[in-house]
């Protein structure tokens, strides 16, 4: 037993002390993403998009900063979709891997604490996907690439009222998912303000890993809403919509950006055809850089990229743009990191594949949302674009 204990100790200590090698003339960027845990798909999409971008730039000889070409090196840290793991991952990237900037974490549960760490240590962090206002609030070093819920909520309300002629609505959301809950509450407030109190006839919730929604749907259907708003992740949508149909519901659905995964259609099948949701970009009928990104991603990894992939691509490019804006890299970590922050803050307007954006003083992007309709062939077709005033 002593031998086992001693062996175990030395082994793990040795592993911890193994240090990464340092290479010159590279720009190192960290990715704090969930490769295991609740949402491994999100981490995978982020990683694939980043790999693609890295190959592009390194293939062209590297990123040119101040007349010199630097190779990119991306380090992917798994945060296991846990808050404490996101903190240690961020600190490891900052201290041990000495990255210049961090992309991720994606969901707010990890992005809020990791944002604190990055802000305290003076490292730029940009979250592709987090929608919680706390992620960037009063944190000059933290940015994000996604629009916030207070903007997306009204988009969904206005579209539904106009297109469905809806007088009443029902909401089904994920109680333990802060994104879903926040958006559902904003939607309810905006809708009731517009259509009068009591116009949201049912406001039902479920848990994150639930697979059966029959009770909630029975209650919703009994309330006879004009449409159901479902700000849920696509995998749950693929269960909710067919279950509603099997319970005899024939009306409309309205979704949010979390629907926008290519997997939605493989999972949901015919039941989801014809439905609408608001999102960052429309994959079908995309033009220019967006189309090029989608086509290449699809050729490489076998599926149409979801919004996380596109947002990670944009977020990473924002960081690279910030590095280029910094003018030159001195090799001194603190100075370079500060220069990158200034560089990103100085971005007037950025043309991303999820639309053009500029950052407000909190580090949140001001960008347009689009509403797409799922076509009969399962493509996400552009319906209308809504921009903030």
């Amino acid at each position: 037993m002593r031998r086992a204990a001693t062996l175990f100790l030395t082994l793990s200590l040795g592993l911890l002390l193994a240090l990464p090698a340092v290479a010159a003339d590279t720009i190192r960027i960290g990715f704090n993403i969930p490769l295991t845990g609740d949402i491994p798909k999100v981490g995978e999409s982020s990683k694939f998009a980043a790999e693609m971008l890295k190959e592009d730039i390194n293939g062209a000889g590297g990123l040119e900063v101040g007349g010199k070409k630097y190779k990119l090196e991306f380090i992917y840290e798994d945060n296991e979709a846990k808050a404490e793991s996101a903190v240690t991952a961020a600190l490891k990237l900052i201290e041990k891997d000495e990255v210049l900037a961090i992309v991720g974490p994606n969901s707010s549960k990890q992005a809020v604490p990791a944002g604190q760490v990055c802000d305290d240590n003076g490292v730029v962090m940009i979250s592709p996907w987090s929608t919680n206002p706390d992620t960037t609030r009063d944190r000059p070093w933290v940015f994000r690439a996604a629009f916030l819920d207070p903007f997306q909520g009204p988009v969904a309300v206005n579209f539904a009222v106009k297109t469905f002629n809806a007088k009443t609505a029902a909401v089904l959301y994920d109680l333990s998912n802060d994104y879903s809950k926040g958006l559902a509450e904003i939607f309810r407030d905006v809708f009731e303000k517009k259509m009068g109190a009591g116009s949201v006839v049912a406001f039902e919730s479920h848990g994150t890993k639930d697979q059966d929604f029959s009770a909630q749907l029975t209650k919703i259907i009994a309330a006879k809403p004009d449409f159901i708003f479902v700000p849920d992740n696509y995998n749950q949508v693929a269960l909710i919509v067919p279950q509603a149909r099997k319970l005899g519901y024939k009306g409309e659905f309205m979704g949010s950006d979390a629907w926008g995964s290519a997997e939605l259609m493989t999972l949901c099948g015919d039941d989801c055809k014809g439905l609408h949701f608001s999102t960052h970009y429309a994959a079908a009928g995309a033009k220019g850089a967006t189309k090029e990104f989608i086509d290449r991603y699809k050729a490489k990894y076998g599926y149409v990229p979801d919004d996380v992939a596109a947002l990670t691509w944009d977020a990473t490019r924002v960081v690279l743009q910030g590095i280029q804006n910094a003018g030159k890299l001195t090799g001194k970590l603190r100075r370079d990191r500060k220069a990158i922050r200034e560089g990103i803050a100085a971005i007037k307007s950025f043309d991303g594949i999820t639309g053009s954006m500029k950052f407000d003083e909190q580090g949140d992007p001001v960008k347009c949302a689009v509403v797409v309709q799922i076509s009969q062939t399962g493509k996400f077709e552009f319906k209308e674009s809504v921009c903030p005033e």
């Binding site: 919730s205 697979q211 059966d212 029959s214 009770a215 099997k246 999972l267």
Partner: protein, 303 residues
């Protein structure tokens, strides 16, 4: 109002069927070994994936019609899943049992096996979720405002049949008698010439086989497969088994339906945000009033 109550009863029966099917597996293993097989939820997940691969193989490679595929997938899934369960028993649990480890260490080993199954799946198949192909045409019947499908009825009927079968096995057959004997006295049984290891393997075959069947039916009813799908439902089925009185087939069956009914009815009559709160408070009250579950027998303790 009546229609909505009836509708919720059907919903509860269907959802409870899955809890019951998984809880039966927990309770079988527990009854024989007093081992909480925490890997059982993940065996159920593996069952769903096996069903997925078998069904897609028959459907696309051989191009068989749906009903035939279903008829072939059911036995194939059950056999393959029971192999997984037996492998776990052989590789992880049996050596520990031989060494006379505290049963809680076996429980932790089971937890670890579950983690391995989940993440091996994630590492091998990637993070993409799988869509289970529709095998039979689901028809929606609406009678007086109550909607149900042929699949829902099939699931409920299967759960009842499985329960009756297992009840028959445990109470009427020689294997069942041996199982009960082992749970009654582990030390005397080998002396009576009962091959204990074989009986334990048989238990795992039954438990995992029906977990595979549950996985198949689950995949047909909720056709989105992901590596973590078994974790939560596994925990809850364990809760159901214990509330029913763990180690008792009737207890697991009833506990499963009870948990399903409580979860669905709370949502139906209270704000749905309170579901877990109320559902688990109800269970807590049940266990406080009946400390050994609904069918559990208070153990007499020798002093």
């Amino acid at each position: 109002m009546l229609a909505s109550i009836l509708q919720n009863i059907i919903n509860a029966l269907q959802w409870g069927s899955f809890y019951a099917l998984i809880a039966l597996g927990y309770t079988l293993v527990y009854g024989v070994l007093t081992l909480i097989n925490f890997a059982h939820g993940d065996v159920f997940m593996v069952g769903a994936y096996i069903a997925f691969f078998v069904a897609t193989f028959f459907l696309s490679t051989l191009g068989l019609p749906g009903w035939l595929v279903l008829a072939l997938t059911i036995p194939a899934t059950m056999i393959l899943t029971s192999l997984v369960g037996v492998t776990l028993e052989r590789v992880a649990y049996r050596p520990l049992r031989r060494k006379g480890a505290n049963r809680l260490y076996v429980v932790i080993t089971a937890l670890m096996c579950g983690l391995i199954l989940e993440h091996a799946n994630l590492a091998i198949l990637g993070a993409s979720r799988k869509a289970f192909p529709p095998l039979i045409k689901e028809t929606v019947y609406t009678v007086g405002g109550v909607s149900f499908t042929n699949l829902k009825i099939g699931v409920i009927v299967t759960a009842v049949l499985v329960f009756l079968f297992l009840q028959w096995v445990v109470t009427k057959t020689r294997v069942g008698m041996a199982m009960r004997a082992i749970s009654y006295d582990k030390f005397a049984v080998p002396l009576m010439g009962i091959p204990m290891d074989n009986i334990i393997v048989a238990t795992f075959v039954l438990g995992s086989g029906f977990a595979g069947l549950a996985g198949l039916l689950f995949a047909m009813s909720y056709p989105v497969l992901e590596p973590y799908m078994g974790a939560l439902i596994g925990w809850k089925a364990f809760i159901a088994a214990v509330v029913g009185g763990i180690g008792d087939i009737r207890g697991a069956f009833l506990g499963g339906f009870l948990l399903g009914a409580v979860e669905i009815m709370v949502v139906a009559f209270f704000p749905s945000t309170f579901r877990d709160l109320i559902a688990f408070t109800v269970l807590l009250v049940i266990l406080t009033l009946k400390p050994t579950g609904l069918f559990g027998v208070a153990k007499t303790t020798k002093i």
